[in-house]
């Protein structure tokens, strides 16, 4: 009796959640796939007929937005990594009793609504703001405008997903055995050498996790482009959103969503391959 109970217990525990995820995540993807091969307009003659041309047409019409999304998200991810690393490092190794305060500061942006945070950046980057005037004065914003440019969108993406970079970085740095770093110093490594050859390779899992957690939501984002970008900075998320919700061109929108998901999967697999072999080389070097 108890043996049977033990055997079915996990399925009983998993049951409700699995049903929910299958029914409202997996099945909808199937329906979206079906919709992407439809012809016609909803309400009139929307029907399934293996219309693969939705894919080729959507791709050729919106290839610039695809490229732009990956470019913006890529730049934002690299910037996030550069900004996040020093803070994560300080929280892990130097903060002492300030650790919890700093961790709180990292998650604090999440306690304000995403849209309002982005709109706050609209205020900060507006033409009359001191930030814009300062950047203009030192020659970083020659035109005197930052809003409605690609830089503004990238700035917004970088800011909004920064905590996703800091937290995994901190987690992996915090796990490093400090004695390894001390050992490298005992063996006459300079501070830079010991960072590059010990700390950095050991934090690789955090870098991989952080870049993925930043890049994936950034590619699909359309809120930043909507508020901070101009008409020339629309990302693929904006296109999908407007095709679905304003133009009711469901088949094209569904096709674009699928391509976006597939491209992200491919990018992630390539990245993990690459990052994995890098980490492996780091292990050999040690």
């Amino acid at each position: 009796m108890t043996a049977i109970r033990r055997r079915i217990a996990p399925y009983f525990l998993l049951g409700p959640g699995t049903v929910w995820l299958v029914l409202f995540f997996v099945v909808p993807l199937y329906y979206m796939g079906k919709l992407s091969l439809n012809s016609g307009v909803l309400g009139e003659n929307l029907h399934f007929d293996w219309n693969w041309s939705n894919y080729s047409e959507a791709l050729s019409a919106y290839d610039t937005q695809f490229v732009r999304s990956f470019l913006y998200a890529g730049v934002a991810t690299v910037l996030s990594l550069l900004i996040a690393y020093p803070l994560a490092y300080v929280i892990a190794f130097k903060a002492g009793r300030w650790r919890n305060v700093l961790l709180f500061a990292v998650v604090a942006p999440f306690f304000t609504t995403y849209l309002i945070r982005t709109i706050a950046w609209e205020t900060i980057l507006s033409d009359e703001s001191p930030v814009t005037e300062f950047l203009h004065a030192i020659g970083l914003a020659p035109s005197g405008h930052i809003l409605a440019t690609g830089s503004a969108v990238i700035a917004g993406l970088t800011y909004n997903f920064l905590p996703f970079m800091i937290l995994p970085l901190y987690a992996s740095l915090e796990r490093i055995d400090v004695r390894l770093i001390e050992a490298s110093k005992d063996l006459y490594a300079s501070a830079t050498q010991s960072f590059l050859r010990v700390t950095l390779p050991l934090s690789a899992p955090g870098i991989v996790a952080g870049t993925l957690l930043t890049f994936i939501p950034a590619v699909g984002d359309y809120v930043n482009a909507q508020f901070l970008g101009g008409t020339g900075n629309r990302m693929i998320g904006n296109v999908i959103q407007s095709l679905y919700l304003s133009q009711s061109d469901y088949p094209s929108a569904a096709a674009l969503s699928f391509v976006l998901m597939a491209l992200i999967m491919v990018a992630v697999v390539i990245y993990i391959r690459f990052a994995g072999s890098e980490a492996l080389m780091g292990e050999e070097a040690r």
Binding site: Y31, A108, T113, L115, A120, L212, I216, S257
Partner: protein, 292 residues
Amino acid sequence: MNAESTGTRAWRWLREHAVNIVAALVVLYLLIPIAVIFVFSFNDPQGRYNYTWVGFTFEHWAHAFSREDLTEALLTSLKLAVLATVISTTVGTMMALALVRHKFFGRRLANFLIVIPMATPEVVMGAALLSFFLLIGTFSLGFETLLIAHVMFCISFVVVVVRSRLIGFDRNLEEAAKDLGASPFTTFRLVTLPLILPGIFGGAMLAFALSIDDFVISNFNSGTTVTFPLYIFGAAQRGIPVEVNVIAMILFFGTVAAMGFATWQQRRAEKMTAVRPEQEEEIAPRPVASAA
């Protein structure tokens, strides 16, 4: 010569503290938008747009809930977040228990099913759900579909948080309860649950935060129902009322308070486990069935 040594000393100080200075600047960068939201909640704009500073007023804090449509949107969001949190936390905790405690066929598949929604952009999830709702036609877009969507994207995060808490769990405590004659349910209620409660609470808080903040997926599946983020999006075109900033700050301070409570509760749970080793030493050591 003296000036030179001050110079070199300053340079050395700067080099030693460079990382700290950069970190401090990053913290500042993280907090600036929050400060802007806070400051502009006291603004007294003349036109419809709350983008430039005009003058200081307490007016909007005093009448934070004076706009009926905004208050209604906020209440919808709160109701949605509470329901989504309760459902996703229950279901997610059960899944985490299964994954940490049991070895079973299909475990890897279950793990995959939990991870994949977190690796999918929100736009795709929103679009897929809308396609599903449109094609099957049994659900009319509104509160119901929003709840379905919110529970869906919260489950994975709850599982991840609760699982991380369960992994460090000392199974010997449960064995001890059983040895003392506790039924499985009593053991769960009196031993397991209090110890994993901080993890569950952490998962619940994350679910609540995700739900109340969600815009993208909600935008696809809301129909005519308006949540707080959707209200802001709609208002952005015609100018966002200052009350939005006020409510955002109220939510901010509310979350901070909840965080403080969670930390306090976790400390208490840690104290509970910390007394254990001494008690164990008092009892004669006896073999305990090892936890796999």
